[in-house]
């Protein structure tokens, strides 16, 4: 009895000690040693991150995870997808359970500064919207006084919602929900009149309804929601890798590098020096990141450039049918603007 208590204490102490050691090694080394990238995603939001019938994770955010895995490990499938809820995501990242978080997470001041995270960029410019049943007859969010609103807890949308109703001197009843799937069920059962979250999430959710046309998104977008992948503070080398992998995907679209022509473009140095630097046929950008020369090439080949990822997962030809809008390249009137590769 006493012996087992003693051994138990020893075990606990040694586990704690190993955890402390693990914190010291750099994130890239840990990933390489593990042979897998631990990437935090949603528990399931079609188009952004959801497992298909075969258990394969697919989606726009999943694409970012796969690109990073391809850049670091050379294998787009070497990703362990960790489903996180709005509540668990930050703890999972801060504790080191996941290496990066790509989960429709809004870049805010306090998350960046106070929670000690590092947003590496924006992969989707979004805003909070409202979805209601068409037969309710509402045409504007300003008509929602007294409504019952389903809302995912632990999100910025919760705070925006409170601000919006207060600013417009309206009342509402919040129904806090843990996951998108539960919210969908409650909304369809009529337990709430309105479902509010990022407009992209609403579109994705509506696409899975039996009759999507019976529900409308109201025109008001009540907030700025720049969604992007994030990592922990303090390991800047790892932050750089994730940031520039995302930038590589965006720059590739701007430069016309697609998964179709990348083999040809990356085979030898071509006429465009920036493409050459990006794909590693010129310069030493990969080495500066601590990776090999073809890191970006692999990242782009994993699922295509930003435009291809968008079109395949959430674009206008998919059931989610999101227009590029703000998420077009800066040359097309959008906000996507990758810094130069030099």
């Amino acid at each position: 009895m006493k012996k087992s208590a003693f051994l138990g204490a020893l075990t606990v102490a040694s586990i704690a000690a190993s955890a402390a050691v693990a914190q010291d090694a750099s994130t890239v080394d840990q990933i390489k040693e593990r042979g897998k990238l631990n990437c935090g995603v949603t528990t399931g939001l079609v188009g952004f991150a959801a497992p298909d019938a075969n258990g394969q994770w697919n989606g726009f955010d999943v694409g970012v995870c796969r690109a990073v895995a391809a850049a670091v490990l050379g294998d787009a499938n070497a990703v362990e997808f960790v489903p996180t809820t709005g509540k668990t995501r930050f703890t999972a990242l801060a504790s080191g359970e996941i290496d990066m978080l790509a989960r429709n997470t809004t870049w805010t001041f306090s998350r960046d500064v106070d929670l000690k995270f590092e947003f590496v960029g924006v992969n989707y410019y979004d805003g909070q919207g409202f979805m209601v049943a068409k037969d309710l007859g509402a045409t504007s969010a300003k008509e929602l006084d007294g409504a019952t609103v389903c809302i995912q807890t632990g999100t910025t949308t919760e705070l925006n919602l409170a601000d919006f109703f207060r600013a417009n001197d309206m009342s509402y009843e919040p129904v806090p929900i843990e996951t998108n799937a539960e919210a969908q069920q409650q909304y369809l059962a009529g337990a709430c009149d309105v479902y509010t979250t990022d407009a992209s999430g609403l579109a994705a959710t509506r696409a899975t309804f039996e009759d999507p046309s019976a529900h409308v998104l109201l025109p008001e977008i009540i907030s700025k929601e720049p969604l992007g992948p994030l990592v922990r503070h303090g390991d800047n080398e790892w932050g750089d890798i994730v940031r520039w992998t995302l930038n590589a995907l965006i720059a590739a679209e701007e430069l016309g590098v697609t998964s179709a022509n990348i083999g040809e473009l990356g085979a030898s140095a071509g006429a465009n020096p920036e493409i050459n630097r990006l794909l590693g046929t010129e310069g030493t950008l990969g080495e500066m990141l601590g990776l090999d020369a073809e890191w970006a090439k692999r990242a782009i080949m994993a699922g295509g450039n930003y435009g291809e990822l968008f079109a395949k997962n959430i674009g206008e030809d998919t059931p989610i049918a999101l227009a590029r809008g703000l998420n077009a390249q800066w040359t097309e009137g959008g906000l996507l603007y990758a810094p130069p590769f030099r």
């Binding site: 102490a13 709005g86 007294g146 919040p174």
Partner: protein, 413 residues
């Protein structure tokens, strides 16, 4: 030959350090001391590790966030609260919601448990088997599943408020006063019209005070009746005194205060006015009581069966009817066996109420441990506060119930 003497006469031997391990008188103490030291070191190491890791990550432990505006809304609030109130206020709203559902569930679980436990011993085959089925089904499925099942059924089966709209609505209000919707049950709510009684809180305190007075008066009447019975052998009829003492004073007070009822009415998206008992509260309350009730039923059965059959037979020989035998002879003695495990069931209800977030009920785990934790990122602080809260409440329940247990346990003189 000194050595030999010490072998034959161990008591006179001097204390040596090796005896800490070799001598059975000291050995167990030694091991206990070592285990305690190692445990203390391990806890110190883990705590220190935590603080050091926090420091390297640039984080600190601070409770300053509790004073900041919470920024989110809560639908069920027993005290005044809006999105501009502080995080600590949100925590209080959550605490009150936790206490409310725990209290309600403790009361109903006890009723379910006692009824099911007594009926399980019934001579009626059907009744006793039905109760066995109830106990076995409900206690063998996790309470979280019950909460979700009940909530899902409620939202799916009950009509949405918009079904009450239109000239030929799909759903109508019961007696034009009660509305059963998938968002909750709306009932008429009392309010006071008299201008002299404008503060609702004080009014209710007044009502409670009058009820307490009635309780005291009825106790006196019962005491007097017992006195008469002991002297004359005949108990005077007192029920109309008691009824009058309960009804008349409170009725007069409510009349003076101008009691009126506000009927819920469909306005816009929802019913307005009256009292709303939210669907989440109902589901959580019902699930907790029916689940824990199954356990309490088993306690009650065990308690009753612990009372020797001779007691029942003796009561029967004295001419007591079975119902009075149960109430006057068996249950009072069975309480001694029932109460101690009942304490832990009450504790379980309080702790299980933290599953509330599954149905969106804003208990303290959902406000302080959920939304506040997320919005501020102060995970360690919030969890520490939650632990302190549940520990305090559990200990208070324990103390209260142990006090009650002392009063009913066998008095040995």
């Amino acid at each position: 030959m000194y050595h030999m003497t010490s072998m034959t006469d161990p008591h006179r031997g001097q204390f040596r350090l090796s005896m800490l391990f070799n001598d059975t008188r000291y050995r167990s103490l030694t091991y206990q001391a070592i285990a305690a030291i190692v445990l203390a070191l391990a806890i110190w190491y883990l705590g220190n590790n935590l603080l050091q890791n926090l420091r390297t990550a640039g984080l600190n432990i601070s409770f300053g966030f509790l004073g900041d505006p919470a920024g989110y809304d809560i639908s069920q609030r027993l005290v005044e609260y809006d999105s501009q109130s502080s995080h600590s206020r949100a925590a209080i709203v959550g605490i009150l919601n936790t206490l409310l559902v725990s209290f309600l569930a403790c009361v109903t679980a006890t009723i379910f448990g006692v009824v099911a436990g007594v009926l399980r011993l019934s001579n009626n085959w059907l009744v006793s088997k039905l109760m066995s089925v109830y106990v076995e089904i409900f206690r063998n499925i996790p309470v979280l599943i019950w909460i979700i099942i009940i909530f899902t059924i409620m939202t799916a089966v009950m009509p949405a408020p918009r079904a009450f709209r239109g000239d030929t609505p799909e759903a109508t209000m019961l007696l034009d006063m009660f509305a059963f919707t998938n968002r909750g049950v709306y009932t008429p709510g009392p309010y006071f019209t008299s201008p002299f009684f404008a503060n609702p809180f004080l009014n209710w305190v007044l009502v409670l005070a009058v009820l307490a007075g009635s309780l005291f008066a009825t106790r006196r009447v019962a005491h007097w009746a017992t006195g008469v019975q002991e002297q004359s052998g005949v108990r005077p009829t007192t029920w109309y005194f008691t009824l009058g003492l309960w009804v008349v004073p409170v009725g007069l007070l409510l009349l003076v205060m101008g009691l009126a009822w506000e009927i819920p009415e469909l306005k816009g998206f929802n019913f307005k006015g009256g009292i709303k008992v939210g669907g989440a509260l109902i589901a959580l309350w019902f699930a907790l009581s029916i689940y824990t009730g199954a356990f309490i039923a088993e306690n009650v059965r065990a308690g009753i069966q612990a009372i020797s059959k001779g007691q029942t037979e003796a009561a029967g020989a004295l001419g007591l009817r079975p119902r009075r035998t149960m109430n006057l002879v068996v249950l009072p003695q069975a309480l001694r066996v029932i109460i101690p495990p009942l304490i832990s069931h009450y504790l379980n209800i309080t702790k299980n109420s933290s599953l509330a977030i599954a149905v969106g009920y804003a208990d303290v785990t959902a406000t302080l441990g959920g939304i506040t934790l997320n919005q501020t990122g102060r995970a360690i602080e919030c969890v520490l506060l939650l632990m302190a809260f549940y520990l305090t409440i559990s200990l208070l329940i324990s103390v209260g119930m142990n006090f009650y247990n002392k009063s009913v346990k066998l008095k040995e003189r």
